[in-house]
Symmetry: C2
Subunit: 296 residues, 2 copies
Amino acid sequence: MIEICEVGPRDGLQTEATILSIEKRVEIICRLSSLGIKKIECVSFVRDDMMPQMAGAEQIMELLPTVPGVRYAGLVLSASGMNRALFLEKLTEIHVAVAASDAFNEKNVGRTTWDTLTRLSSPIKEALESGKKVRATVATAFGCPYEGKIALKRVLEMIEFYLNLGDCGIALADTTGLANPRQVSQIVREITNRFPGVCLSLHFHNTRGLGLANVLAGIQAGVSRFDSSIGGLGGCPYAPQAVGNVCTEDLVNMCEAMGIETGINLEGLIETAKWVEHQLQHKLDGLVMKAGPIKG
Amino acid sequence: MIEICEVGPRDGLQTEATILSIEKRVEIICRLSSLGIKKIECVSFVRDDMMPQMAGAEQIMELLPTVPGVRYAGLVLSASGMNRALFLEKLTEIHVAVAASDAFNEKNVGRTTWDTLTRLSSPIKEALESGKKVRATVATAFGCPYEGKIALKRVLEMIEFYLNLGDCGIALADTTGLANPRQVSQIVREITNRFPGVCLSLHFHNTRGLGLANVLAGIQAGVSRFDSSIGGLGGCPYAPQAVGNVCTEDLVNMCEAMGIETGINLEGLIETAKWVEHQLQHKLDGLVMKAGPIKG
């Protein structure tokens, strides 16, 4: 059994040229939550003027129905973002992300890695104390487009920092699609040796076609939590090199064909991917939505 | 070290709407052979009127230069095709393919699997006696769009049939992209247990995004020979569900990032993929040609 965290409504839509209405974004999340997906990253607490695609996190959370067994998560990158997130009762999981690469983190939030971590430590503790779950991400964990290789030591230090704040889940994100399967095996084994019992998620992009191969390596190394986005959302129609997240339908198709349960309705996912494609008015990257699932 | 057989000039171009001239097809092969690719499937011995994209196999072979260390292969589906192939000195390897699925084979060549195998047995023996290498493929080995699952027993019987004819290499082809990594592991282990020392190649399509994950499973199971096509050629611009072969650059990028040697010039491949894209006047599926390679 693997658990998929659907990140299309956040990591996917945030790079789209088309800005969907609050109602459409709520509809996407509702369609997804009806298909057996247990966790959805719904919103991002960034400034509306900085990222209009993600505007209205509070309204989205207000409109979302409570669905038994479905958890809603939101992305927090700063203390002010955390202040907004902590007000929202239906948002039970906080995703925090800091890049292991200083250069990347500075481009993203204007501060170094350790500066950002330090500033986030009180907000993370506050979130945990308020009863929210926190998943703390090491972004660019597998490589950085500016700095190149990321030292494993740095990834381990960041995880240690997070775990010292309390009972956080940990995620490794391959933010720009630089991971390879051998590296995934090595890093996962290193982390699970060093931090036994860690609740580890992997977040891959399919930038160089390695998304599912990296998930496979993760599964083989014992990981059971993966992020993916409906239709492979997260590419940018105006930047053909920016391929999106691992595609949810393609991932579910792989797992089900391999006999690994996901609890997710694959035919429903395909329908939803086509519906999202229609809303965005451009072709999505997902392949199973075009070719159909492997039938056992 | 893995060996890649480049099949773009055959499996790739045969489904293209644009029919390239003999000279362009020769140029593609020459560009590829200059990049460290050691084996190229260059031609198909089908009737010119049935598949104009592949017309002129004899002219192609006549025009190709002999390149030290580079082997040229051609696809043979019938006794008459073999008669043509055996005349061509520069064609040192014959690829024969028969589908494990009767339904698929009948649609493809109008005969059942066993009828086709029987008719090909003398031609295969003749090829081996004439000093050509023969690689015999079990097509639809991982599943058939008409028949569904293919019994492992049938795949093993076909391999046994081929090996009884002489010292053939064996290939398993996932003709319509139905393989999954667990199945790849299982079938490969079964074959290598049953036929120790067999020279096994794997041929995957990326129809459902599993191309590289399936190659990874093959590598893990000990296979070192894979087919792929430059730019991921083999899709059809007018049938968006028909995604092509595993993409050569994407495969080389994965291997090199994992520390597995290919002996192939990746930057040169990317340039060549862009050049082929320009010749065909439509976007190819390859991702590394868009995003650039993973840099170690």
